[in-house]
């Protein structure tokens, strides 16, 4: 019984060792042990013989013939094609959608540019001024006028109309308006009449210093 167990264990060990002994990669002691075991074990001898034959058969060149030169030529062609593709500008590789998108962006940029130039040139000759903007200092004949707080709007409008004055600024923090005469020549007369008008607390030329 013991002999059988030992034999089984040795046969299993021989089974494990066979591929590596055949490969010549097993340690010397393992190869020597296997040789010794094979000498006394017919079953393992048959198995080893079959393993040797298997190795021999697997070492044969494959019967599926593939031309190495033709394959290499194809591979080099593939590498050439990849290099050529890489060398091309990237935009060319895009789809029609990408190209259309790029064209749309260019047209938009052009439009914005044209519009910008036009608006900039219009700004240069601005023909209007908002009341929140400061009164231009160089406006000829401008007069600062402070009407009395009790003065009615209708009286104020009538006075401006009779003197042909136009409000161009104000009222500021102290309630002063800036008015200009319709004709610059009448600025002095208008100033005098404003000073003498009822309901006007102050009338001074805008150009004179404080």
């Amino acid at each position: 019984m013991k002999l059988t167990k030992d034999t089984d264990r040795d046969c299993a060990r021989a089974w494990e060792a066979m591929p590596w002994v055949l490969q010549d990669s097993a340690p010397q002691e393992q190869s020597a042990w296997l040789t010794e075991h094979l000498a006394g074990c017919e079953s393992c001898r048959e198995e080893f013989a079959q393993q040797s034959r298997l190795r021999l058969a697997l070492a044969l060149p494959t019967d599926v013939q593939v031309d190495a030169d033709a394959g290499l030529k194809k591979l080099l062609g593939r590498i050439d094609a990849a290099d050529a593709e890489q060398a091309q500008p990237h935009v060319r590789n895009g789809s029609w959608f990408t190209r259309a998108l790029v064209a749309a962006v260019l047209v938009q940029a052009l439009g914005i540019g044209v519009l910008g130039v036009k608006l900039w040139s219009e700004d240069a000759v601005q023909s209007y001024r908002t009341l929140s903007q400061s009164t231009p200092a160089a406006m000829p004949g401008a007069i600062h006028v402070v009407p009395d707080t009790s003065m009615k709007l209708a009286d104020w409008n009538t006075l401006l109309h009779s003197l042909q004055l136009q409000v161009v600024g104000g009222p500021n923090d102290v309630g002063a308006y800036t008015v200009v005469p319709a004709h610059a020549a009448g600025a002095t007369d208008a100033l005098q009449q404003l000073r003498s008008a009822h309901g006007i607390r102050l009338a001074e030329p805008a150009t004179s210093g404080p």
Binding site: P19, E46, Q51, R53, L56, L60, D63, V64, V66, G71
Partner: protein
């Protein structure tokens, strides 16, 4: 590793360095050096020559692109065969495994010099390998045909060594059961006992 293997690996590493610098002559040398063994290895996965050629080129396309990134943890041959294995599996997934029967191989695909004993041996092997799964055939090829260790095979197939051992064990059991019968009495008698 044997001295011859060390020398071969050193040569392969030099070729990879040259390829990393864009040397196509080095690529050609390495391609021709590996073509035979890769074709034989891949023929265990598929019998279609066109698929094998495509897989070899896919493999070397990757080797060419990644030559500079080879980290040297394994032998160059282990690295290249691992790439070929993965390319082969990918090709089979995409196309479906359609082995070509020997009867369907065109005449010009059969080697002109094929001594009778080799032919007989090849047939015997082919019939035995038919009984194995693709993974088992690959393990048998890598261990018996190429001479890789279990660790190498595990690296190539990207699986644990235990899995490789199990595949090898089951492959050997199947072959032990079918090969003697396939060999016939005559072949069995021819075998010399070591």
């Amino acid at each position: 590793m044997k001295d011859a293997d060390i020398d071969a690996d050193e040569t392969d590493r030099l070729l990879l360095q040259r390829m990393a610098a864009g040397d196509r002559a080095a690529l050609a040398v390495l391609y021709r050096s590996y073509h035979g063994r890769l074709c034989r290895f891949l023929s265990r996965l598929t019998r279609r020559a066109d698929v094998i050629e495509e897989v070899v080129n896919d493999c070397f396309w990757i080797v060419w692109q990644k030559a500079g990134g080879f980290n040297g943890d394994s032998r160059v041959s282990t690295w290249i065969i691992g790439i070929a294995y993965r390319c082969g599996l990918k090709a089979l997934r995409q196309r479906g495994d359609e082995p070509v029967d020997d009867e369907n191989i065109p005449e010009d695909r059969i080697p002109s010099h094929d001594p009778g004993e080799d032919r007989e041996l090849r047939d015997w092997l082919g019939k035995g390998m038919e009984r194995l799964s693709a993974d088992q055939r690959v393990v048998v090829e890598l261990v018996y045909g190429v001479g890789h260790t279990l660790d190498d095979v595990a690296a190539i197939m990207q699986c644990p060594v235990g899995t490789v051992k199990a595949r090898l064990f089951h492959a050997r059991v199947k072959l032990r059961n079918v090969l003697p019968a396939l060999a016939g009495d005559q072949l069995t008698q021819k075998e010399s006992v070591p």
